[in-house]
């Protein structure tokens, strides 16, 4: 029987975000990518994913997907069910909650999105999301924009609420006993390497993989490196 793998996409990304990994890993794991477009707080979203998840599974999330993965671990640990997660992978993420400044900036963005300028807002954060070499890559950018347009302004707002509703996970990290893979692009500007080296220090069983020539959206920017890291992680 195949291993079950749950991949959680980042902010304003659809299932398509993980298409390279689905192609690379489809033979060795049954992959599901939850819909993260409906909920307005991270607690309900995580509960829903837990409810729909198989009994035992591998869990991976990038950026907002990492926040959601940490919330899932929090709820499972609280319920004494952490054994359901065989291994955890956290990519391009942040274990701390939003600062007030970041919350304010998200609220400004939400307002702009509701005013019809979601495009403008998203387009301004592109330099934070991907390595410089992709910032003029028409194919890469249109891939991202396609997902953003698909989801739309209402999802933009909901997912910002999800981002803002997350708890600080500093005290959670040492409680995560399962083997954990931490992945970060060396050129990640949004969630830098330092966040990830710290995460590794706080976690009992964590390996850190740093990817060269890679920004925040590692799974899209260096898909083979990410897929290979996942392959090793999925192997016993």
């Amino acid at each position: 029987m195949n291993k079950k793998l749950i991949l959680i996409p980042p902010f304003m990304a659809t299932k398509a975000f993980w298409h390279n990994q689905v192609d690379a890993l489809g033979g060795i794991a049954d992959i599901s990518i939850p819909d993260t477009s409906f909920h307005e707080n991270i607690q309900d979203l995580a509960s829903e994913i837990i409810r729909q998840a198989p009994d035992e599974f591998y869990l991976a999330g990038l950026s907002m997907g990492g926040y959601i993965s940490l919330e899932i671990m929090r709820q499972l640990i609280e319920a004494g069910d952490e054994g359901r997660v065989t291994k955890l992978a956290l990519l391009g993420t942040n274990f701390r909650a939003d600062t007030d400044a970041i919350k304010q900036s998200r609220q400004d963005q939400m307002r702009a999105a509701l005013d019809g300028d979601m495009d403008g807002v998203y387009s301004k954060v592109i330099p934070l999301l991907v390595h410089e070499r992709f910032q003029k890559d028409i194919d890469f950018l249109t891939q991202l924009y396609g997902m953003v347009l698909e989801l739309g302004a209402e999802v933009f707002v909901r997912q910002q609420l999800v981002n803002m509703s997350r708890s600080d996970s500093t005290s959670l990290l040492p409680k995560i006993k399962c083997p954990t893979l931490i992945v970060c692009g060396r050129d990640d500007v949004l969630t830098p390497m330092s966040y990830h080296t710290l995460m590794q220090e706080f976690m009992p069983h964590a390996d850190l993989v740093l990817i060269d020539d890679c920004g925040h959206f590692s799974a899209l920017e260096q898909p083979d490196d990410v897929s290979n890291a996942f392959k090793q992680w999925l192997a016993d």
Binding site: D117, D119, S123, K136, D139, L141, T142, Y145, G146, L149
Partner: protein
């Protein structure tokens, strides 16, 4: 009775219309009888090209930008089949390519067509704008507004018709050596959609051609560097 001025047919790019060429039309209309082609109709590429050859009498100068360039290549092909190659006096190819889309690009176009059909995409957005024009032009309200106005006039149906035409175009590189007329090839140095190397390739393959490159310019030189484009066209056509 007026003296017949030489004719110029101008074919705009995706989502664009005559407003793309407004400044050039102003600069040239004293010496040329100018028509801007409506390329948003539900036609195949060859239907479009034959329609153009049928709709104008005698000889004419031909200019195409981006998708308009793809249509120009088809006009040249159809003219050759019809024995009418001599009708095209001079050719101007701006911000275009003689190749087909790379597979990923073609897929993106289909994705955006699907989004447009579901009302999630109108043909242009701020996110895509920065792939069309030079960064220095993103703050130019006139340029940006013109692009949005043209997008709105094109509409979703026009966008879909145009995209289908683009997706179904052949590789035109084999036809380039057959283009006998004088040809001007223009490209923005910062064009991310049809990068300069594609224009350089055309300049290599079209016998009687010259290449002009515009600095601080993206995919829409007539809007981004209107005076320079007008000057080049005046020198070439008049």
């Amino acid at each position: 009775m007026s003296v017949n001025k030489p004719k110029l047919l101008m074919i705009p790019g995706l989502i664009c219309d005559e407003r793309l060429f407004a400044k050039q039309i102003e600069a040239l209309q004293g010496g040329l009888d100018i028509t801007v082609v409506d390329h948003a109709r539900e036609l195949t590429l060859s239907q479009m090209a034959n329609d153009i050859l049928d709709s104008v009498s005698g000889s004419f100068n031909l200019l195409g930008l981006s998708m308009g360039g793809y249509i120009c290549f088809e006009v040249m092909r159809q003219a050759k089949l019809r024995g009418e190659s001599g009708r095209i006096e001079k050719l101007v190819l701006c911000s275009t390519s003689s190749r087909q889309d790379e597979p990923e690009m073609a897929q993106r176009r289909r994705d955006f067509m699907a989004l447009a059909k579901r009302g999630k995409f109108k043909g242009m957005s701020p996110m895509l704008m920065r792939t069309f024009i030079h960064p220095s032009k993103l703050d130019d309200k006139t340029v940006v507004k013109t692009i949005y106005d043209m997008t709105e006039s094109t509409g979703v149906e026009g966008f879909i018709n145009e995209t289908n035409m683009i997706l179904n175009r052949p590789d035109s590189r084999p036809n380039l050596p057959d283009i006998a007329c004088e040809t001007l090839i223009m490209c923005g140095e910062g064009d991310e959609r049809t990068p300069l190397f594609l224009s350089e390739e055309m300049a290599d393959l079209i016998p009687n051609s010259k290449l002009v490159v515009f600095e601080h310019c993206g995919h829409l030189p007539p809007l981004e560097q209107p005076a320079m484009v007008s000057k080049e066209l005046q020198e070439f056509l008049l």
